[in-house]
Amino acid sequence: MKKRKSQLPGDILLVLIMILVLFPLVWLYVSSFKSDIDVIKWTPHFFPSRFVTVQYAYVMKAIPVLRMLVNTVLFAGLVTVISLGVDSLAAYAFSRMRFRGRKMLFSIILLTMMVPFQVIMIPLYMEEYRMGILNTIVGLVLPRASSAYGIFMLTSFFRNIPSSLDEAARIDGMSEFGIYRTITLPLSKPAFVTLGIFHFMNNWNDLLYPMMLTSSAENRTLSAGLAILVGTHSIKYGPTLAATAISVTPLLILFFAGQKFFVEGIATSGMKE
């Protein structure tokens, strides 16, 4: 009982922070249903005088939202699936196999984690132009099909899986690929879900990268397309709010549907063993 009592100030603090976190998000959704006047008037009210959908109607008309949604799902989805496969292969080699240059290669890959996108953005653009994949889905997916972060994270995860299992399989004559596929992968499901959501989210939210590598509206991702709307109508608060709500909602839905996997996923297995 005494312990419970000492928890109370902590709980109050937690609730305060919770309100601080939730308030702007709730405000965004509520305000996206305000009329232009309600958005900019002083004194501001949390709730609109009347719930209207004019801002959404305006945004839907101004840009091909559905097309962009498809592009975004394709871009983020393909990057996630391909990079998980490619990176887990590399991580398996780094965590389970001995080969010359392992330490050096791993350090070099870690180093690429530190390369800000802005450093390679100009050369990347020129390169894609020469390869003729600028403004295509291939051109968007390929550069992201492997990531240093993914290799780094999966390598640490694989290293924490006890190697007794694959040593036994190796003695039984199983190939390295067989061990990777039948032992390491199934044991790493939580890491895959975590990393997968991470990739999907980051690519969904990315702005500069898809904006730079695509040039026509029908090839744009949602975030890039909306950013252009925001850019050209930067003074109009109403449509900006609706556009922001549209760009954020799919990920929030995904989070609510998959949060069990996400939070519990890392919780039950991320750092165990």
């Binding site: 998000l25 002083w42 490619v86 001995r98 330490k103 890959i109 800000p116 989070f255």
Partner: protein, 321 residues
Amino acid sequence: MAEQRMVSAGQIECGAARRRPAKRSGKQTGTRRSQKQAYLFLLPSLAILTVFVFVPLIGAFGISLTDINIYMKGGSFVGLDNFRKAFHDSRVWNATLNTCVFTLFEVPLQVFLALFLLMFMMRNRRFDKFLRSVFYLPYVCSMTAISIVWSMLLDPNSGMLPYLLSKVGIQLPNLLGSPTWAMPTVIFVSVWKSFGYTLTILSAAALGVSPSLYESAELDGAGRWQQFFYVTIPGIRDSIGFCLVTTLITALQVFDQIYVMTGGGPLYKTETLVGYIYDRGFQTAPYNLGYASSIAVYLFLLIAVVTAVTRRYSFGQDDEL
């Protein structure tokens, strides 16, 4: 964990030593085959990273030695002129300072806040699980979206927060328009967005700490705080290191929130290195990509040094690989 790995490595070495007489003939072919296999596993990712990261990176160094502009005009070799110019450019030093200020406040604040809140969430009640999800919500949203929302909330003419605070007698200045307050505000919004991610990683690690350690600590008479400081924190050291390194790298590359909220202003008080690179390359005539690249190379070296130092101190265990 570390001990276990060390033991198994030791066993492997013992095995190799015992087999030594047969090693000459047997090992070489075996090793060569397994080496080849390892490279096959690495091939896809190495190919992609080479074409789309290493080659552009080298390209960036090359471009920094030219005066090429955004229309691909110019492009004559100017040697180290860009670097000399950057060294005497006061905006480079200003941007370096701002980037360092941002990093030195944002990273510790985020990790400390996460650890501090974790301290109250250690019992893993239903409420704690719920809070973890709530705190994670901002991280799910894009930095652009978050920055737009906070700019509007803080807007001195129509913002909700200046109004609410004025009702309790606090006159909020135009935070994002003030040379004094713009940077702290940007740091606040960044911490607000990302602390939930750090918290999720740390609490996952904390739940993985063996319960028997807590039990023995309790037997020794350790209270809840003592358990947190002497069992939890040492137990999640690796995860704290991981969070420090990743948030540090992200912080040094800060761009989105500043681009949306202040555009580097007022009076360049929030202009960071990436922001300055973007400005010189894409926003301000003569769009000198060569000069922008030279600052990018400088940023890259800065990040490389900082990360190398941090990694050394926070990931003792990684030296093994």
